[in-house]
């Protein structure tokens, strides 16, 4: 992948970006199905690359002789069935207003252009579902008509892809759609780390390639959601060198300037006019450490009045295709190994109530850590173990940012700087976090390091110790106290949920440091 080094090739909100992954397996699956005259629902959340994929597919189909491709980007403004037909006719290059049904449009296109087959690619199906025509959901009436045309074409000349998220689920299980019922399913998937590296390849033509820590930080903060990944790469492109702290800044900025995108991602899994089963399942996945009782999930999939339930496997499929969750087993298992993916899309949300700002700080750091513990698997790079401390720090910082803290993060290689510095608006002073992996050699000196960073307006300091290799025989808090807190007065605080221990250390000068021990197991 080579690009003009002078021009930033990453445009996260374009459907025809300069740099894109071929997504070969995905496109192959769609391509094979539509050329066989099948219907396909392309399931994916916002920013997962559905539109880009449809465009790649359209391009590939146009290269097949005798294939007419109608790529329809969304419902027509008029929102009528006639307008839907006109859009399709226009896309196929036949006169609008001349056909009373889709079959006639197909016939006109085959007559006019000599097409042997026609493929319809409908994007933004969720929007069709939310519009109404003659008091009926446009999506149901229109897609049923499309399905009727596809299914009743005896030679299988008509292929259809409908791309959407929650709307597809709603179509099938709430209002009933024969399209959704007969269609094959192809689900979008988040980018793997390898794909992320491939997408970042142009950096090597432009300057130094992105270091592993940056790749890891992007992976951890985006969960591989293509739009977010592309946003990060685009934002890092102008920098001469990039570190994981820069990734934190990128996403802090993103959260402020593109809050609508995050809302859209959520609306792809929950919508007041549709239903919120996926959101309830996600909530369970976030609050459990990778295994949720099926009982609980089934209840989440059932409407409050028990009149309707949505199949759990479909809900999980949607969450996966939105880059919000992963399934490590089978939905029939009990418990179900569904886990939320850590990213800026799944921030911790509960703010702590505390008597003092310092107490609130400690409590909210613990909240973020508890989520990191539950989503621990997100912090493991395939074949490389737990990500580096700088990535963990950045994740911690972005979590606190979501809870209202203004955080700053320094790269570890910059000597003399603490890992995370946090402030709260209208509160003078700052708060420090020194984050360490317990397996690192310098973990024993952590108290000394954090003390070194204290300055006069430091309100409070916290040490976060990530336990990737927790001692098996001695209880970790005891081992930690002996190794890291020798000579200090140590008080064992009441343990917080999902933390191994909360220790409060006081030195001879009366300076207090809270030590939060959290396990980040691979599971």
């Amino acid at each position: 992948m080579t690009v003009d080094a002078a021009r930033n090739p990453y445009e996260w909100d374009r459907h025809d970006p300069m740099v894109q992954l071929p997504r070969t397996a995905l496109v192959d699956a769609l391509y094979g199905a539509v050329l066989r005259g099948l219907g396909v629902r392309l399931v994916g959340g916002r920013g997962m690359g559905k539109s880009v994929t449809l465009r790649i597919l359209a391009q590939r189909l146009r290269e097949v002789g005798g294939t007419g491709v109608a790529l329809i980007e969304g419902p027509p403004l008029a929102g009528t069935l006639t307008a839907c037909l006109d859009d399709v006719a226009k896309a196929l290059g036949v006169p609008t207003g001349a056909s009373s049904n889709l079959r006639e449009v197909v016939d006109a296109a085959t007559r006019t252009h000599g097409f042997e087959r026609v493929v319809f690619l409908f994007d933004e199906v969720d929007q069709y579902v939310q519009r109404r025509v003659d008091n009926e959901p446009l999506g149901r009436v229109w897609l049923n008509h499309v399905e009727s045309t596809r299914r009743n074409d005896p030679r299988g000349r008509v292929g259809v892809v409908a791309a959407g998220g929650l709307g597809l689920l709603y179509l099938e299980h709430v209002i009933g759609s024969h399209f959704a019922s007969r269609a094959e399913t192809v689900a979008m998937t988040p980018l793997s780390r390898e794909e992320l590296v491939e997408l970042a390849a142009p950096f090597a033509d432009h300057g130094p390639p992105l270091p592993d820590g940056v790749i890891d930080a992007i992976q951890v903060m985006t969960a591989g959601v293509p739009a977010l990944v592309t946003f990060a790469l685009g934002a890092l492109w102008p920098l001469s060198t990039a570190g994981s702290a820069d990734v934190l800044h990128v996403f802090k900025r993103f959260r402020r300037s593109h809050a609508g995108f995050i809302d859209d991602v959520r609306s792809a899994v929950t919508h007041p006019d549709l239903f919120d089963a996926p959101s309830r399942v996600l909530s369970h996945a976030q609050s459990h450490a990778g295994a949720v009782s099926r009982e609980l999930l089934l209840e989440a999939c059932t409407s409050p009045d028990s009149s309707r339930s949505i199949p759990l496997d479909r809900v999980v499929e949607l969450l996966q295709a939105a880059g919000l969750a992963a399934l490590d087993g089978h939905p029939d298992d009990d418990p179900v190994a569904v886990r939320a993916l850590a990213s800026v899309l799944t921030p911790p949300s509960s703010r702590a109530r505390a008597a003092t700002v310092s107490d609130r700080f400690v409590a909210e750091v613990a909240t973020v850590l508890a989520q990191m513990h539950r989503l621990a698997k997100s912090f493991y790079a395939k074949g490389r173990g737990l990500v580096d401390e700088e990535v963990l720090s950045a994740s911690l910082a972005i979590g606190l940012d979501a809870l209202g803290w203004d955080t700053d993060c320094e790269p570890v290689q910059v000597g003399g700087f603490v890992d995370v510095k946090a402030r709260l608006r209208d509160v003078p002073g700052h708060f420090l976090i020194e984050a360490k992996k317990y397996s690192n050699d310098d973990a024993a000196d952590v108290q000394e390091q954090v003390d070194h960073y204290r300055v006069s307006d430091t309100k409070h300091a916290v040490v976060v110790m990530f336990g990737d290799e927790i001692p098996a025989k001695t209880p970790w808090p005891d081992a930690y106290t002996r190794r890291c807190l020798a000579g200090l007065t140590v008080e064992r605080m009441s343990d917080r949920p999902d933390l191994v221990a909360h220790l409060r250390a006081t030195d001879a000068r009366g300076r207090v440091t809270d030590h939060l021990l959290v396990a980040v197991p691979r599971r």
Partner: protein
Amino acid sequence: MNAPAQSPLNAQYRRQLASARRRLARFGVDAEDAVHDAWVIALEAGAATPTDAEASRAAERLRGQARASVRRDVEVEEGAAVRGSEGIELAVVVRELAARLDAAAWEALVEAVDEEEGVARIAAREGVSERTAQRRVAVAREAARAVVGEGEDVDAASAIRESECARTVATSRHTSETKGVGSRVMSDRLAEELRRIERAHPKGREVIDAMRGESLDPTYARVVNGHLALVRGETPAAWQERFGVAPELLVVLVSGEVQARDLEEADREIFASGLRLDWDLVIVANDAPDLKSRLARMPGRPMLRVPWALGESRWNTLEGALRAALPTYDVFEQKDPVRGRQVLGREREIRELQTRVERAQAVGLFGLRKVGKTTLVRAVTDFIDPASSGLDGFASQSVSPDRVALYVDAQGVLTRHVDAVADELLSALADRMSAAQDGFPVPRSGGLVAFKDAVERLFVARRARFVIAIDEYDFLFEDSSGRTAPVEGLVDLLRLLRAWSQTRGAVALVLLGRDPEHLAASRIAGAVNPLLGWLTAMHLHGLDADESRSLLSVLGQRAGLRVGARSVARAITLTGGHPRLLRVYGSRLFELCHAGHGTREWLRDADPFADRAAEAFLAHRDTREIAEEVVDILQARYPDVLELLREIAIGGASAADLRAHMAEAVTRAQEFGLLFGADDAVPEYLRRYLQRYTAPSQMRRAAG
């Protein structure tokens, strides 16, 4: 056979056909002899489309022959003593007969002219007993009567259709290119086409010789262009038995690289054959390198393209090519309704539906989604009116101008007004007339008024009788929330159809949907329901044990599997005979049997994989989706049935225990095929789903 569309006498033939039919109906069985004689004589007169002069001469000879056979039956004499033009009419009728009968039946019919002698000849040639030969003759006669019996003879025709012969007719997909007189007529033309292929295609002679060498005798050939030729051959009986393939195979001979349009042409041929060919199998003979992967990449509907590579140093036999390719294609996998030879089982239902539509009745065909309603109705409409499939390119000999089937899918109706429904019907009618190469003008829109006008003009001009099938009829009665909200003006359409049925006996209506709820209501939108007292309900549920066995073993044969009793029994328990689910199970057997194995060994025994396939089936997405759909519908419309099934599946009750206080739910569940077998069992796929996904907490824990 020549395509009459190209004949100047075509229109004349059409007119004459109607009167010939009426006349023949009076003659009964013996009329066939006269028909046959007329046909032979007309052909001997020198043309497949004889002129008046030729026909007159033929008629003279016909009279002579008929007089000679007067001892047989005075009616033969009466039937044979016709004017020259009537000779032509009869010839046309025979053409149609030839088009509709399968090879064996036609052969029998021809030879039944001299009855005793014919039986003896058939017995000798086929190596069967005279009794069997007699039976074939009887079948052929009955089949002939089924085709010609009309007008005054409607009742007789209906009776015939209920007999076994009707099944023979209905389940064989007939073509004009068959044996007997048809093939005799064709032989010269076939020979000429084969010679053209040999001249036009470098490998033509090689391929034709190879086909003959492997006993795949050509029955039809067509040079499409210098690049492409199509040859159909009669499949050797041994191959039919071993590979489960159709009685005819299509070989696509391509010079140079195969193109997508070549396969499109092959596709047209498959449908034009009246689906006598396997609709998902084509053999591509080609000498370009890399044929196999090129075929795999080609677009087109799901089908097996067997590469018959001609360019390799070692000659590949066709049998070898089939043997290698068949086990690579999952013939079970089919999500959409199936056609042609893929319709397996349902013979009783097909016969019943066909009988009812012949009697111009209204039939409601009810069942859950994907249980095969559309497949069933299309089997009937494809037979009654092949042109109703919407495909063009039918030789019009295979289409009766007066038998018109219209199939519309109500989910395709865009606006909730009867005119939109009528426009769909008009569109289907226009497509049908076009496919039949009938120039009768039909507008594609104009609403109910235009539809009424078009149908009534066809009553007069073609003496047409209609079968109107409306799929997903529920859409006409319900809005998206499932509330009853009939399409505006719908009752006017239903009234019209009923009137046509009752006054003319010329319209049958088939409504396909989930249940008869809307059709049994006393009123529709305030008006008296025209369907009351007219519509008969047919409930479609799973295939019975024999049909399930047949489906699995026939498809298994095609895929190189020997599906034995153990697998069949497991499949029935799992699926309750649901045809789509039987295919899902078959697919799992296919995957397991062929996983990691070469294709040298033909027919792998599937039974050792029965249990593993069952687990894979239960975990498979398609299985879960169907279970989800069933539960969705039950939740929304039949909570009592859902409760019943849960009581049985989770609570351990039996249907017999629950019948006392849930009688209606039991009946409904049986109608849907959700209770099957003598002990009213819940199919395992559904039981598993109910246990895992719908049980209340306590029950689920108990089931855990």
